[in-house]
Point group: C2
Chain length 396, copies 2
Amino acid sequence: MEYIVSDRVSTLKPSAIREIFKYAADPTVVSLSAGNPAPEAFPTEAIADISDRILRENPIAALQYGFTEGYPPLREAVGDFMKNEYNVGRDFDDLIITSGAQQVMDLLTKSMVNEGDTVICEAPSFIGSLNSFRSYNARLCGIPLESDGMNLEALENALRNEKNVRFIYMISNFQNPSGVTTSLEKRRAIYELAKKYGVLILEDNPYGELRISGENVPPVKSFDEDGIVVYAGSFSKILSPGMRLGYVIAPKPVVQKMVVCKQGEDVHTNVWAQMVAHKFMTEYDFKGHLEKLREIYKKKASFCMELLDKYLVPNKISYQKIEGGLFIWCRLPDGVDMPDFCKQAVLRKVCVVPGNAFLTDESEQCSSFRINFSTPTDEQLEKGIRILGELAKEIL
Amino acid sequence: MEYIVSDRVSTLKPSAIREIFKYAADPTVVSLSAGNPAPEAFPTEAIADISDRILRENPIAALQYGFTEGYPPLREAVGDFMKNEYNVGRDFDDLIITSGAQQVMDLLTKSMVNEGDTVICEAPSFIGSLNSFRSYNARLCGIPLESDGMNLEALENALRNEKNVRFIYMISNFQNPSGVTTSLEKRRAIYELAKKYGVLILEDNPYGELRISGENVPPVKSFDEDGIVVYAGSFSKILSPGMRLGYVIAPKPVVQKMVVCKQGEDVHTNVWAQMVAHKFMTEYDFKGHLEKLREIYKKKASFCMELLDKYLVPNKISYQKIEGGLFIWCRLPDGVDMPDFCKQAVLRKVCVVPGNAFLTDESEQCSSFRINFSTPTDEQLEKGIRILGELAKEIL
């Protein structure tokens, strides 16, 4: 039988990253290509204790069907936290729990974007979100990302000229893959542009709690008085990605449509995970845990940047210092064949992700690659970066 | 701001059932409208023991990112079980774990159905699946369901005349809402028709393990030598719906597209739930557990049918005896205003679901309603059915 696939899926390829992961599965290869939280960042004992308590004392609640909108006590705890810490959430907003923040990208696109409509995104940007937009046949329009956020002129041009722009997708803190944090000034400017052109902003903030230096910049959602910002939050980097827990804070009419879509996708999110997260946020030292995470990642990021300074020759590979997150963006001289460089690296047993994997058009030229420092051990990190430095010296 | 929603969502309403659930939330109302497994059907102690072992001995595996395709040992265990017990799965098939069987409906539609394409379904059918198809702007074509499955003449007419039919959706055992099990003869005929017209079958089988009398009928997928059947399985009724665990067994090219879509939807399914299900299937007496479930539901279903025989006057309300599942379909005289009957029932503190909620067009006339016997206690069930009988006597 010939299987006829839908138009939206016919254009969707498994991502270049997944091809790379095949090499990374080789245990002799040092993988700097993942984005997994560090194993020591999981509060394993607390989770085991909480889980045991739930499953002994209140098992039916954890095992029976739940609400599409999420476990009410968790919705309340997250809402309080985001309001108190970041002034995120107004009376016109609602909050629902999703199966990872990835589902926010999916549900918003499903709810608001017709096939052929335009989504504006940073270039480069997180490939998982881009694929989510693509899977509804959205047209992607990439805006060059500068060291303090999107180029505003290019953004306004796109808003003026692109047809049926439905939202602007941005990762405001420690962007994946570039590490860039959008400045407060640019956040305000982007907000004003969105307002002027009547377009929503999808603010994705999975790394916001992982700041290791500098001052927090208020989320775009914190100055949303007009109901134009959809905020996606995640427990993946602060509690556990395997639990698949995220949330969205957005104007009620938008959330209502997302709820109807979620009902048809997975009915609701795993209840056990929601109950564990709720107890962890409200009965344990949640802020102390976040502080501990920042210490873990500060140590790892600083060590990584020391290694980059030690092993890389700046005119061959340069990088932008980061203030948080899990990724560092490394730049080679213009015109380099980046997929080829990454293949050479794999042959020497180091795996990094070529920057063009994060572009709206993967076939475009890109002279950067992404490395991750949260997953490898210190030894692996040193070995990997040393090899990258040697490779650059030899072939560039 | 005016929120412009996508075409696919503009036609999607929250289901009539959800409106009814609002009444059912009143603790003085007897709800026969849900579809929750009976509380005593959960193997709570085994789950608590297994979970504790996983989270003490191997916490990182349960909390870290997992594979989009699912936890490999669970994929294997489910594949073995389905092959050995039901001869489901060939070399050309693959199996992935999904976030509930609901996600199978979503992913298959996303992968194979363009907006405006046709999905053929039983009429009546499960509203959650219908809404999933609707959320991709599929055109639904309902085929009248008889006591042994779809009307074959109507099915062939639809296959011949409808444009761009992409698949036939059927719940082969103890269908929700009608309780109907499709006969082996009709299963074979439907398979041959699908083959003849080059159309896939989506066989949904959430209740298959809950047979309380009669002989098992082989799944349509068990005679799929041509790679035309997509089989959706679920852990919701046999382990826990709150875990959100389902699976799909389908030809590899179909599964591959579903995997790409799943990556963009929720990356992967909650890992803890997959590990718990795996250990429960392989280290506990899984078949003994299923046997125990059948005993629980046999008792409940038999009691429910006794009550129906006792309290209902047959020429006012009749029902079809069931051999399994969680639902019984009750029929009133033709021409009755069913939503009104259900409202009257709610005023007397009993909640049932009007049959038209399960039609492809909810505004169509339907003289049946659905009751569920797994969720209420025996006392609630007796009270509810007694009131329904009284109501029918008075107003019909």
